[in-house]
Symmetry: C2
Subunit: 115 residues, 2 copies
DNA sequence: AATTAACGCAACAATTCTGTTGCATATTAA
DNA sequence: TTAATATGCAACAGAATTGTTGCGTTAATT
């Protein structure tokens, strides 16, 4: 039973790690925050206020898009990016599993101590 | 009000990003899962079953320790590592903020459409 | 005391990541 | 049509990451 939980955690660790890695950069995390706050926005809009080049922002957006945290579509001469909730819901659920697993570990320890 | 949320998200984005970055690696994610499942464990124990060297695992553990996801203590000739929930609770809360911000964004869009 | 086990440190190569620059293309505006 | 805007592609340098190997130190075992 507790082994099932561990297997759940081990199974797609690779896929989950990609999402964490995509969020593991301050610039990208700020981009996600911006897009969660207001979508869609163009690359130029998202570059405004940053010290980085448009190209750098563009690259970061690609990284986020590769893991599905944002989506993009071309409209006229601009690329519009929008926040996509699914992957982040996924890792939130993953973190819940870790926390739950830890709770069970504590409960097990507690029962040993009390035995 | 909604600006407060955005500021909350922007403020310590750097610190949060470090935690995400630490989890953004399959090996490290598996180590966290192992330690959440059973703590404490020595480096040698944690290396068992991995294709990597003890040194590699040791480095990964340092990365996790640097962001506080795990803690370590020397006992005799071995270093024992244990899972620490605080940072992960922190990013879980952060993700909740992002999700909430997105909900508000949707609500705002909805109210515009319905106006 | 000698051997084994667990670990830390440091150096090295290979790879990946970041950000910039220069140039080309496509769309909109005047 | 001409000019301005928004973007994409590719090459480059610098930095950071990853994993290994070799060696030294400390602690437990026999």
């Amino acid at each position: 039973m507790s082994d099932n939980v561990r297997n759940d955690l081990s199974d797609d660790a690779g896929a989950q790690a990609s999402v964490f890695a995509a969020l593991g950069d301050e610039t990208r995390l700020l981009l996600v925050a911006k897009l969660a706050h207001r979508s869609p926005q163009s690359i130029t809009q998202l570059t405004t206020g940053s010290k980085l080049t448009r190209q750098a922002i563009s690259r970061h957006l690609r990284v986020l898009e590769d893991v599905g945290v944002v989506g993009s579509a071309r409209r006229g001469r601009e690329s519009l990016f929008a926040y996509r909730p699914e992957p982040i819901c996924g890792i939130a659920a993953y973190l819940d599993l870790v926390a739950k697993q830890w709770d069970q570990s504590l409960a097990r320890l507690k029962s040993i101590v009390e035995a």
